[in-house]
C-alpha cells in the first residue's frame, strides 16, 4: 500500500471549483514534483494533503487511515508543510525551529525537543544565525529555517511549496541538494511544487503534471516530453541534453 493515497479529491473555494477528481499515490521515500501553470491548484492540493483545507469531495489516506479522522496534532507529527511565502516576523531562528516541536509539546518543551532543534539547526548549517531574528535573514537563510522547522516535526512526509522561487542560483541548488539529502538520509517522502522544471527534473523521482485542476499525466522521467510540457504550459519547448542533464528550453512563438 502507498504511504499516501489521494482518491478522487475535489476542492472548491466557494463556488470556484479548483481541484477535480485528483487521484494520486505517493510511495515512501520518493521525491514527487508537482508541476503546472500558475493558478492550476498546486498549492491548494498541498494544503488539502496537510488538512489545512478540507476537501469537499474524495478522501486522503495516510498509511491507510483517513486524514479527516485524524486529530490535527497527529497529522502534524507525520506531515510537515513549508508554505510558498513565509512570515518574516522578529522571532529568533532557534524559536522558529523549536516551533516545529509544537505537535509534541504538552505543557512545555522537553530537553529532547531542545536537542532535536539543535541538531536540525546544525544539519541545515544555521548555527551562525541561530539567535538572529527572522527579519534579519537573507532569503536563502529564511527558507532553510522554514525547512528546519518542518524537519523538527520529524515528519514522514514533507510538503514544500515552491521552495526555491525566491532564491538566487546558488541557493536554489543548495536548498534542492539539502532536500534530496534529507529525503535519502531520513527516508522522508517529499511532495514539492516546483515552478522551475529544469531544477525539478534534476532532483525528482516522479512527476505530476497538472492542467485545469486535474492531473494531466503522472509518472517518471518518461512523461517529461516536449509534447506534454507544451500541453501543460501552452508553450513550445525543446528538450536538449547539456552534460547529460536534460534541459527544457522554451521557444518563441
Amino acid at each position: 500500500m502507498s504511504l499516501l493515497q489521494v482518491e478522487s479529491l475535489g476542492f472548491s473555494y466557494g463556488a470556484k471549483e479548483v481541484l477535480k477528481g485528483i487521484n494520486l499515490e505517493v510511495e515512501e521515500g520518493e521525491i514527487l514534483s508537482i508541476l503546472g501553470e500558475n493558478g492550476v491548484g498546486k498549492t491548494t492540493l498541498l494544503k488539502c494533503i496537510n488538512s489545512i483545507l478540507k476537501p469537499q469531495k474524495g478522501r486522503i489516506l495516510l498509511d491507510g487511515s483517513d486524514l479527516s479522522k485524524l486529530r490535527g496534532k497527529e497529522i502534524a507529527r507525520r506531515i510537515a508543510y513549508v508554505p510558498q511565502f513565509s512570515e518574516r516576523n522578529s522571532i529568533r531562528v532557534f524559536e522558529a525551529v523549536l516551533l516545529g516541536r509544537k505537535p509534541y509539546i504538552n505543557w512545555d518543551v522537553s530537553s529532547k525537543d531542545i536537542e532535536i532543534t539543535e541538531k536540525v539547526i546544525k544539519t541545515m548549517g544555521l548555527q551562525e544565525v541561530g539567535f538572529r531574528s527572522l527579519s534579519q535573514l537573507s532569503g536563502g537563510e529564511l527558507q532553510k529555517v522554514m525547512l528546519a522547522r518542518a524537519l523538527a516535526q520529524e515528519p514522514q512526509i514533507l510538503l514544500l511549496d515552491e521552495p526555491t522561487s525566491n532564491l538566487d542560483l546558488r541557493n536554489q541548488m543548495e536548498v534542492m541538494k539539502l532536500i534530496a539529502e534529507i529525503s535519502k538520509a531520513r527516508k522522508i517522502t517529499i511532495l514539492v511544487v516546483m515552478h522551475d522544471i529544469n531544477l525539478s527534473v534534476r532532483f525528482s523521482h516522479r512527476f505530476v503534471l497538472m492542467k485545469k485542476g486535474k492531473i494531466f499525466a503522472r509518472g517518471g522521467h518518461e512523461i517529461i516530453t516536449e509534447e506534454n510540457i507544451q500541453e501543460v504550459y501552452g508553450i513550445k519547448v525543446i528538450i536538449s541534453y547539456v552534460a547529460e542533464i536534460p534541459v527544457i528550453i522554451p521557444l518563441n512563438g
Binding site: 494544503k47 496537510n50 488538512s51 489545512i52 486529530r71 490535527g72 496534532k73 497527529e74 497529522i75 502534524a76 507529527r77 506531515i79 510537515a80 508543510y81 508554505p83 513565509s86 512570515e87 516576523n89 522578529s90 522571532i91 529568533r92 532557534f94 524559536e95 522558529a96 516551533l99 516545529g100 509544537k102 505537535p103 509539546i105 505543557w107 512545555d108 531542545i114 532543534t117 539543535e118 541561530g130 539567535f131 522547522r149 516535526q153
Partner: protein
C-alpha cells in the same frame, strides 16, 4: 551550557527583575497618599490590622487600591498581548479596539436601566455598587458586542491593520455616544457614577470587588497562559499554525473571548483605563522577545508596575486633587501608539 539555555536565562532574569520592581513599587505606592504616614507606620499596619487611623487608611484605602492596580494592570496588559497576537496587529488592545468602551457602556446600561448601582455621598467611597455581578455581566455583554464587530471586520479580506484599528476607534466612539445618551436618562446620582466610568479610577474598589475581579481574572489568565504555544504558532501565519496542528479559529476566538472577559471585569469596577494593553507588551518585547511563554508573564508584570506607578502619580501631581489615572496612562500611551502607527506605515 547551551546557547539556548543562556538565551532563556536572560528572559527569566528579566521576569525576576520585573517581579522585584513590582514589589518595590507596591511598597512605595503604599506610602503615597494625602495623609502622611511614615514607613514604619505603613509597615506595621500591613501586619497588624487594628482600628487605628493608620491601619484603616492602609487596609481600607491604600492596600485595596494598590492591589486593584496590580490586577487591573496585569489584566489589561495580558488582554493587549493576546489581542495583538490573535488579531495579528501590533496596535490592538482593549482600549484601541473599543472593547473597553463597550464594557463601560454595558456597565452604564446596567446602572441606569437596571439600577445596579448608585453614587452615595459618603466620604470613603463615591460609588455604591448594589449588584456587582450584574454590572460585570453587562460590561461583558457590552465588550462582546465590540468583539463581535471587530472579529467580523478582521475576517474581511484585505482589511489593513490600520483600518482595523480605525474601525475599533470608531466602535469606541459609538459606545461612548451610547454611554453619553444614557447620561441624559440618568438621575443625578447615577450620572455621577457614569461620569466616573469613562475616566477610570482605582479609588472606588472595595475588597469584595477586588475579590470578584481576582476570581474572574485568575482562571482566564491560566487559560491564556496554557495557550502560549498556540499563540507562538499563530505568529508564523495561519497556514503554518494549522500545519502544526493548531485549531486556529478556536484559538483566535477563545483568545478574544477571554481577553474581553478580563477587560470587562476591570472596566466594570474601575472604568476605562487606556493604553496599558499597548504599553505593557510593547515595552517588554525588546527584553523578552516574541515568545509568549515569557511575553505573557512579562507584560503582565509590567502592566501592573505601570498602573501602580500611574496611579501613584495621579495622586501626587497636583495633590490634593486626584487626577483620573486614565489621563496619566494616555500621556504615556499616545506617543507609543503614534510611534507604532508610523513605523507600521513604512
Amino acid at each position: 551550557m547551551s546557547k539556548y539555555k543562556l538565551f532563556v536565562r536572560k528572559k527569566l532574569l528579566t521576569l525576576f527583575a520585573e517581579a522585584f520592581f513590582l514589589f518595590v513599587f507596591l511598597l512605595v505606592a503604599l506610602n503615597v497618599g494625602s495623609v502622611h504616614l511614615d514607613f514604619f507606620q505603613v509597615f506595621n499596619s500591613i501586619f497588624h490590622r487594628t482600628g487605628e487611623l493608620a491601619s484603616s487608611i492602609i487596609w481600607e484605602i491604600r492596600l485595596v487600591r494598590v492591589l486593584s492596580a496590580v490586577i487591573v494592570g496585569l489584566s489589561l496588559a495580558i488582554a493587549g498581548t493576546v489581542m495583538q497576537c490573535v488579531l495579528n496587529n501590533p496596535l490592538a488592545s482593549p482600549f484601541t479596539m473599543g472593547i473597553s468602551h463597550g464594557a463601560a457602556f454595558g456597565a452604564a446600561f446596567s446602572i441606569v436601566v437596571l439600577k445596579a448601582g448608585e453614587i452615595q455621598n459618603s466620604a470613603s467611597r463615591a460609588l455604591m455598587i448594589s449588584s456587582p455581578y450584574k454590572i460585570t455581566a453587562f460590561a461583558f455583554i457590552g465588550s462582546l458586542l465590540g468583539v463581535i464587530v471587530v472579529i467580523m471586520l478582521a475576517r474581511l479580506k484585505g482589511i489593513s491593520p490600520q483600518s482595523l484599528i480605525l474601525a475599533g476607534v470608531a466602535m469606541g466612539f459609538l459606545f461612548m455616544a451610547g454611554t453619553t445618551l444614557l447620561q441624559f436618562l440618568a438621575s443625578d446620582t447615577e450620572l455621577a457614577a457614569i461620569v466616573f466610568w469613562t475616566f477610570g479610577d482605582l479609588g472606588r474598589v472595595s475588597w469584595k470587588e477586588l475579590g470578584i475581579m481576582t476570581g474572574v481574572t485568575i482562571p482566564a489568565l491560566i487559560y491564556i497562559f496554557a495557550n502560549r504555544w498556540n499563540y507562538n504558532a499563530l505568529q508564523s501565519g495561519e497556514d503554518v499554525a494549522k500545519s502544526l496542528g493548531v485549531n486556529t479559529w478556536k484559538v483566535r476566538l477563545t483568545g478574544m473571548f477571554f481577553a474581553s472577559l478580563i477587560t470587562s471585569v476591570s472596566v466594570a469596577f474601575v472604568g476605562i483605563i487606556g493604553f496599558i494593553g499597548l504599553l505593557g507588551p510593547h515595552m517588554v518585547r525588546g527584553f523578552v522577545g516574541e515568545d509568549h511563554r515569557f511575553l505573557i508573564p512579562s507584560s503582565a508584570l509590567w502592566g501592573a508596575i505601570l498602573l501602580i506607578f500611574s496611579d501613584a502619580l495621579s495622586r501626587i501631581v497636583i495633590s490634593p486633587v486626584i487626577l483620573p489615572v486614565g489621563i496619566i496612562t494616555a500621556f504615556m500611551g499616545t506617543p507609543l501608539f503614534l510611534y507604532i502607527l508610523v513605523k507600521g506605515e513604512k
